[in-house]
C-alpha cells in the first residue's frame, strides 16, 4: 500500500492546475495519475488557437496551453504516474490503479481530486437508423486522427451537431482539402461558441442547417450519404423536407458527458442535470476530502474556466488537509427560471475562499438580453443585465463574501428574465 497526502486522478488541464495549486498552498506529497502516455489530456489534440485569453491574456493553442502547466508541474517536482488507470475509488479514499509496468497498485490518499474530464456522446446515444458502415466518427475521434496520428478520415463530410469540436473540425477538414457539405443542428440555435460559428463555418461558407437532423445513414460497408430533414418544434423530422446528401464520412458532435464511474463508486452525490458530482464552494464533493473540478463536474466551453475552477479545487484540498475542521452550514444554490444548472450547488458562506465566490451557470435557451436575478430566501441580493445569452456559453458571476455571509440565509436562487419583461429594479 502506497500512502499519499493528495492524489489527483487525471492529467488534463483540470488535474494539472489542481495539482500545481495544491502544491503552491503547502501540500507536499502529491501524486498525479494519468491513463494516457503523456500529460495535457484533450488539449494535445486541440491544435487550434483560442485558449488562454482569460488566464494568460494571450491566445494560445491547446498544446501550448498544456505545455505551460506541464512545465510548471515538472519544475515543482510533482510526482506523475503515466499509463496508469484508476479502476477503483472508495469513499475512504482508497484507490486501486493498474499499469502495464507496475501491475496493480493500492494507494491510500488523505485527499483526492477527481479530474477525469468527459467523453463524447456517440451514435448510440442519439439513435440514427441505418447499417453500421465505416465512416462514422465522433468529432473528437476524427480530431485525434487528423491532429495526432496524421490521417484524414474522409473526403466528403457531413457533421451532425454544432458542438465546438465539430465546428473546429469543419474548418480543419476544409483546410486539409476535404469538402464539408454542411453542419446539421437539431436545435434552432448553434451549440458552439459564436466565435467558432464565425471562424470555422462562415469563413469557409459551410452551411449551418439549424433545426435539422440526420434521419438516415446510407451505405453498407462505407457511408455513401445521409438523409437530412428539418424538424418541427417537438424535434420530429418533417418528411417533406428530407434531402439526400452524398458523403463518405459522418461526424457526430452531439455533446459531451462527464466521466464519473469512479465518483459513483465512491458514493458521491451526483447532479442529474450536469451529470457530475454535487460540489461546494471549494469544489469538494459530498464525500469530505474528495474534490472534483473541470469537465468531470460540468462540461465547460473554455479551458480557462476549467483552470480557474481547478485552482479553487487545489486550494480547497490544501485547506482540507491543513485544517480538518468540519465546515459550517451549507446553503443550496437553486437554478430558477431560465437557468439550467448552477455550479457549485452548495456553499458554506462563512468559509468562502478568497472572500469571493464564483458561480458558473447555463441558460435554458438563447436570449438577446436578459436580467440575471440573484436572490436569497430572505431578499434580492443583486441583478445584472447580460447580453447575447446562449446555452452553449457559460454565464460566470462572482459574489462577494459580504453579499452572502452577513445574512442568515438558507438558499440562493438564480433566475433570468428577458429584458422588457422584467420590472428592471436594481
Amino acid at each position: 500500500m502506497i500512502n499519499k497526502e493528495l492524489v489527483v486522478i487525471g492529467g488534463g488541464p483540470a488535474g494539472l492546475a489542481a495539482a500545481i495549486e495544491a502544491k503552491k498552498h503547502g501540500v507536499k506529497d502529491i501524486l498525479l495519475v494519468e491513463r494516457d502516455s503523456g500529460l495535457g489530456g484533450i488539449l494535445q489534440q486541440c491544435i487550434h488557437n483560442g485558449f488562454g485569453l482569460h488566464v494568460f491574456k494571450e491566445e494560445l493553442t491547446g498544446p501550448e496551453y498544456a505545455d505551460r502547466f506541464i512545465k510548471e508541474l515538472e519544475d515543482m517536482g510533482i510526482e506523475v504516474l503515466l499509463d496508469t488507470m484508476v479502476i477503483e475509488l472508495t469513499k475512504d479514499k482508497r484507490i486501486i490503479a493498474v499499469s502495464h509496468k507496475k501491475g496493480l497498485m493500492q494507494i491510500q490518499a488523505e485527499a483526492v481530486i477527481l479530474t477525469m474530464g468527459c467523453r463524447e456522446r456517440t451514435r448510440g446515444a442519439i439513435n440514427i437508423p441505418g447499417f453500421r458502415p465505416a465512416g462514422i466518427f465522433t468529432a473528437g475521434t476524427a480530431q485525434r486522427f487528423v491532429n495526432i496520428e496524421g490521417y484524414m478520415p474522409g473526403k466528403e463530410i457531413v457533421i451532425l451537431g454544432s458542438g465546438d469540436i465539430g465546428l473546429i473540425m469543419a474548418r480543419r477538414f476544409t483546410l486539409e482539402g476535404a469538402k464539408v457539405k454542411c453542419v446539421a443542428e437539431i436545435m434552432p440555435y448553434s451549440n458552439g461558441l459564436t466565435r467558432n460559428v464565425v471562424q470555422c463555418l462562415e469563413d469557409y461558407d459551410i452551411p449551418l442547417l439549424l433545426s435539422h437532423t440526420v434521419v438516415n445513414i446510407d451505405g453498407r460497408d462505407r457511408v455513401e450519404g445521409v438523409t437530412i430533414a428539418q424538424v418541427d418544434e417537438d424535434f420530429k423530422p418533417i418528411s417533406s423536407t428530407e434531402k439526400y446528401v452524398t458523403c463518405d464520412t459522418l461526424l457526430l458532435s452531439v455533446g459531451l458527458i462527464p466521466e464519473n464511474e469512479l465518483s459513483k463508486m465512491a458514493d458521491i452525490k451526483m447532479d442529474d442535470i450536469t451529470a457530475g458530482p454535487v460540489v461546494n464552494h471549494r469544489m469538494e464533493t459530498t464525500v469530505p476530502g474528495i474534490f472534483a473540478c473541470g469537465n468531470v463536474v460540468h462540461v465547460h466551453d473554455l479551458v480557462d474556466f476549467v483552470t480557474m475552477e481547478s485552482q479553487l479545487a487545489g486550494r480547497g484540498a490544501a485547506n482540507y488537509l491543513k485544517n480538518r475542521m468540519p465546515l459550517g452550514k451549507h446553503i443550496s444554490i437553486l437554478p430558477g427560471e431560465g437557468i439550467r444548472y448552477a455550479v457549485p450547488q452548495l456553499i458554506d458562506p462563512q468559509n468562502i475562499i478568497n472572500e469571493k465566490q464564483n458561480f458558473f451557470m447555463r441558460s435554458t435557451k438563447p436570449m438577446e438580453k436578459a436580467r440575471l436575478f440573484i436572490e436569497s430566501d430572505k431578499d434580492l441580493i443583486r441583478t445584472k443585465v447580460i447580453q447575447h445569452i446562449k446555452p452553449s456559453e457559460m454565464i460566470n458571476i462572482e459574489l462577494k463574501k459580504e453579499e452572502l455571509a452577513d445574512k442568515d440565509i438558507n438558499s440562493l436562487r438564480f433566475f433570468l428574465q428577458e429584458e422588457g419583461v422584467a420590472d428592471g429594479n436594481q
Partner: protein, 118 residues
Amino acid sequence: MEINKTVTCIVCPKGCRIDVKVKNGEIVSIQNYDCKRGLEYAKNEVLDPRRILTTTLKLSGGRVLPVRTKDPIPKKLLKKAMLELKDVVITPPVKVGDIVAKNVVGTGIDLISTGNAK
C-alpha cells in the same frame, strides 16, 4: 457607395455584433462594440481580415507536429499557406515555440511549433 457590414467580434466569447459603415473603401463609422479590442477587430475584419493558421506538419518518424503562424496572416492566403506547407517534413527534436518554417507565403510571418517532439 455606402455599405453596411455587421461583424461578429470573435476576440472574446461575448460575440458583440459590431456595425461598420464603409464608404468608398473607407470606414466612416463603427458602432456597437463593447471594448477597444472589438473596435480594432472590426476595423481589420473589414479592411484586412486575418487569421492565425493552425495546422500540422509531418514528422520524419511518423505522426504529426502541431504548428501555427506566429501572427495572423491574411484570410485569403490560408489555403495557399496550407498548400505550401503540405510536404514539409520536420525532424525532431523540436519544442514549443521553435520556428519550423520562415516567411509563410511571403507574409514575413514565421511558423512556430506548438508541440514537443523528441
